[in-house]
């Protein structure tokens, strides 16, 4: 049986920080959490609208 894969320390640190960030979010008040969801919804609507209005040009392709 092979050893389990060990994450590089920098990746493990990012994951640990992300888990801590999620725990902190979970401890917010319900009102604060709903305010975050409301902001997510605004961003989602904005993204959808900007996708619809954006025409891909050769200049976009040259960025990649």
């Amino acid at each position: 049986m092979t050893d389990p894969y060990t994450l590089p320390p920098e990746v493990a640190e990012i994951l640990a920080r992300h888990a801590d960030y999620r725990r902190r979010l979970a401890r917010l008040s319900f009102e604060e959490k709903i305010a975050i969801i409301e902001r997510m919804r605004v961003l989602k609507t904005w993204r959808k609208q900007s996708e619809q209005s954006h025409v891909i040009t050769p200049a976009d392709n040259s960025k990649h």
């Binding site: 979970a26 959490k33 709903i34 969801i37 989602k44």
Partner: protein, 174 residues
């Protein structure tokens, strides 16, 4: 959201619906990190018409009269799409009966208990339900023994075991 809940509470006061409980992602957000969701799930008892048919017409008529228009399967109330869902099985009945009374910016409302939200996810069994179940387990906010009692009461123990097997979940019990 505050105004949305005020409108729904007024629906109860005006007798359009007898009572309600918030479920879905908004209720889940009460217990763990916020979930990116687009609507509010409101569970309620549907009015039965004289002919014996369940009907949502009184609810839609009431809201339309106040300027709230249906949009797809929801009705937009004060900026939030609200989905009115019937309480149609014993698990939802129990989730409604044992709801937790809370206040949102001083507006009284009630949400499902975490054990009921999880049991409904097990029952519904869509990929997003499994993803949310994993979120609940990771957040460690539920008494798993209490959840298992609810699951057993509603014949969901086998589905729960299958979920744990499928996602290789080991539950820590005290």
């Amino acid at each position: 959201m505050k105004e949305t809940l005020q409108v729904i509470n007024q629906m109860v006061a005006d007798g359009v619906i007898d009572d309600y409980v918030i479920g879905g992602a908004i209720a889940a957000t009460y217990y763990h990190e916020p979930i990116n969701t687009s609507d509010v799930d409101i569970f309620f008892h549907v009015t039965i018409s004289a002919s014996g048919l369940a009907t949502l017409s009184p609810l839609y008529d009431y809201l339309r009269e106040r300027g709230y228009e249906p949009k797809d399967e929801t009705i937009e109330i004060a900026g939030w799409p609200v989905q009115f869902l019937p309480i149609f099985n014993p698990l939802l009945e129990e989730a409604h009966r044992q709801a937790v009374k809370i206040a949102f910016h001083d507006v009284p409302t009630q949400i499902m208990q975490a054990v009921h939200l999880m049991a409904i996810m097990v029952q519904t069994g869509r990929p997003k339900d499994y993803s949310r179940l994993l979120q609940f387990i990771e957040a460690d906010v539920v008494d798993i023994s209490a959840l298992e009692l609810v699951l057993a009461r509603h014949g969901l123990s086998e589905k729960w075991k299958n979920f744990l097997r499928k996602f290789d979940v080991n539950i820590k019990k005290p």
